[in-house]
Symmetry: C2
Subunit: 162 residues, 2 copies
DNA sequence: CGTGTACTGGTCATTGTGCCCAATATTCTC
DNA sequence: GAGAATATTGGGCACAATGACCAGTACACG
């Protein structure tokens, strides 16, 4: 019963509809996707049983909260202290996301700041974490492509199986 | 009327409640935040009038769609062709997000792939875009801190003004 | 070819929604 | 600090949506 599988093509179709109009009711979605209300309901229920959707926080724009600047900071860390560093990063509110990556640098950190000074302060407090060896900051100057999932959803929605 | 301003402390409180339970009804939110139902309703209405919330797509996990690998690709581009490159990137479904950044590299590109081969293919098609000079790929091996907004929300919720 | 799963169309009571109102706080502006 | 503009409140209303059922049917898989 607990499929534990991800989204199938039907899910993708529903997700597309929801992306188009997030406030839509279940009924509205049903006729948009040409499925019965019950089916939609069942899917939705499964989604939050299996926790397939990511946190709502993702829909909150830092800019609307007054954090106008975003930057990506790459950092090299002493491998032994990786977890400690991760913990310290978690304690910095302006750190929104941290990835452990392959390549020259070990961490890719997404941070925000209210303004240039603020961002500078945040960058400083990251560099101050014991175990962090080098950092370099790349300021986001322009959003060329805003986060999107639609193209992939369409692909998944099209492929009939699964 | 159209405040066009971002979120204030009350909004932040509501957003926190919504983050805690995204499926909560307006009534439930109201008593959680200790405000009247009408106030919540008014805020919500304003949010989607002013389009303060980011797209629902953000809540969809690529992994649940079968795209198990994520990578960040940095790229240098011929400045003149920046817009053309951005356009070409937009045509690649696996490209989820593109930022124009300061620093050595010009672009920071978030991509996904079904597996290593797929990711390699995607990286290749980016490198093939005219105007792209160099790229380097950083594979995401671990999520140290998953995207979050709660710490900032709490800060904004606390500060009484605005 | 049989069995289990998913989808359907239907009904039901309950709850939430969107909208209205007038009264009262609160905040802002001059 | 007076006055005006704006937010919040509590109340009420008709309507729509929800979640929960159910039995019948289509479908896919082994």
């Amino acid at each position: 019963m607990t499929r534990r599988t991800g989204f199938d093509s039907v899910d993708a179709a529903i997700l597309l509809a929801m992306t188009a109009s997030p406030r839509a009711t279940v009924l509205a979605l049903a006729q948009r996707v040409l499925l019965s209300r019950n089916t939609i309901q069942a899917r939705l229920t499964r989604w939050d049983q299996d926790e397939l959707l990511l946190s709502f926080e993702r829909r909150i724009d830092p800019e609307s909260l007054g954090y106008r600047l975003t930057a990506f900071i790459t950092a090299s860390v002493v491998q032994r202290q990786l977890d400690a560093v991760a913990g310290a990063l978690r304690d910095i509110p302006e750190v929104l996301e941290v990835h452990g990556v392959s390549g020259e640098r070990d961490l890719l950190i997404r941070v925000v700041g209210e303004d240039a000074d603020d961002l500078y302060r945040v960058a400083g407090s990251i560099l101050a974490i014991p175990g962090v060896e080098r950092t370099s900051t790349a300021l986001v100057m322009r959003q060329l492509v805003a986060f999107r999932m639609t193209p992939l959803l369409q692909i998944v929605a099209r492929r009939k199986g699964r």
